[in-house]
Homo-oligomer: 260 residues x 2
């Protein structure tokens, strides 16, 4: 699989950083010694963590070396390591904050993963998670529908299965609440203002659409993307000012361990 | 109609103040001379405005004298006036911020109201609105279903019509975007942790349920509330920790005028 493209991912950095900020705003810690950013990407979320906890040791992890190169350049004061969230565990002292912004949707088996991460926290520590919850949005329904049609179906195969099926929000609550001092869960459905349907395709191309397109040879990539954009254009009609509103639901989970 | 009950309304003040804070966090103003809090209630939102804009003249309006008494006591540095949002217009210089947290859902005719409020702003000014969007939640479907049944239907009558039917979020965008420098719209669906079904009833009793219950004589109030709580109890099953999660969708709109 092609590696992630930090430049393309960064193009909508303001829109992508907002949920990271809103997640952090709900973390009930005034200070922290050890902070981990699981799936740090190019370091936009890590930068927020460094600003909020200037005295903390901040570690960012990602499974993309290209993203880590970008993150290290941006934040020399933090440390970064190549690792897979599915098997990651803290080295040395337990962290006060495990923060995972838009990363756990790529990691399977949440019923085991989420309690394991929560257990790894220091007393009073916080697990803070944000995940896109847009499988039922037109962008994602359309990429799957098209991936079931010839001539794209065969090369794309089971690309959709790379992304984990999320639990309902109450399922995450149930996993954490009996063991936590507090659990706060919510959804925000952003409405991103996009110039046109091409911008919507560009947005999803760097994330949700990537596993689909990566599996196609160049000529089929072009035809898949052209037909996908045509359908996206219909599904997101122009608003009164000519722009498109891209509804983007995201799920947030903030759980704190008891202090004792 | 009975007046609002500031003590009951305040019981869930933390949960009610969070959306007010999140709305204010998205207001793109570093300073303001004149700020208006439309439908200020007991002043919790007004207090946030005073903190954010300490040099501004802050005016709170409400149509409940009981709420204004409570607000004046809390915030002697702000001014408060009894008025109806439907006919309210700024006196003197145009405001830099018109802020309406959980109030416009009681005011009719949004197609005219919202553009009128936006027009009343100074150049560069911001209109910031938050409204509960929970008509389709079990709490609200159940209060309507029960209000259609004997013996409550006749005295309750058209109580449901007191609350304005909201436009879809894109409708508000369309009203504002052609005339604005920027418009940001989104939903957040909070999941409030409630001890039991009685707490859920208590929550809605001070707001959405109030027009229904107010129209009933005492004995019918008791039977309506008992049956309502029974149905709420079924609709919000206990989670793994015994609590109930009250899903509470809220709509947010932030529009800025151009500076010239």
């Amino acid at each position: 699989m092609l590696d992630w493209n930090p430049a393309l991912y960064r193009r909508y950095e303001d829109e992508r950083t907002r949920p990271a900020q809103e997640l952090l705003a709900r973390v009930p810690l005034s200070e922290a010694d050890r902070v981990v950013d699981l799936g740090c990407g190019p370091g936009n979320s890590t930068e927020l963590l460094v600003q909020r906890f200037p005295k903390a040791q901040v570690l960012g992890t990602d499974n993309s070396e290209a993203m880590l190169v970008s993150a290290r350049e941006r934040l020399p004061q933090a440390s970064f390591e190549l690792s897979d969230i599915a098997t990651w565990a803290p080295q040395g002292q337990a962290p006060d904050l495990i923060y995972a912004n838009a990363s756990l949707q790529w990691v399977p088996d949440h019923e085991k993963l989420i309690p394991r991460l929560f257990d790894a926290l220091a007393p009073g520590g916080v697990l803070a998670i944000q995940m896109p919850d847009n499988r039922q949005e037109p962008t994602h329904r359309l990429m799957r529908a098209l991936a079931a049609e010839a001539p794209w179906a065969e090369p794309i195969g089971d690309a959709d299965r790379l992304r984990t099926m999320l639990l309902p929000l109450g399922g995450y609550y149930d996993l954490l609440a009996p063991h936590a001092a507090s659990v706060d869960v919510w959804h925000t459905i952003y409405q991103h203002r996009m110039a046109d349907s091409a911008s919507i395709v560009e947005w999803v191309r760097s994330t949700g659409l990537k596993p689909f397109v990566d599996r196609l040879p160049a000529d089929l990539q072009a035809s898949y993307l052209a037909e996908y954009q045509r359908r996206v254009d219909e599904a997101y009609p122009a608003r009164a000012d000519g722009r498109r509103l891209l509804a983007f639901p995201r799920m947030f989970i903030v759980a704190q361990k008891s202090k004792a």
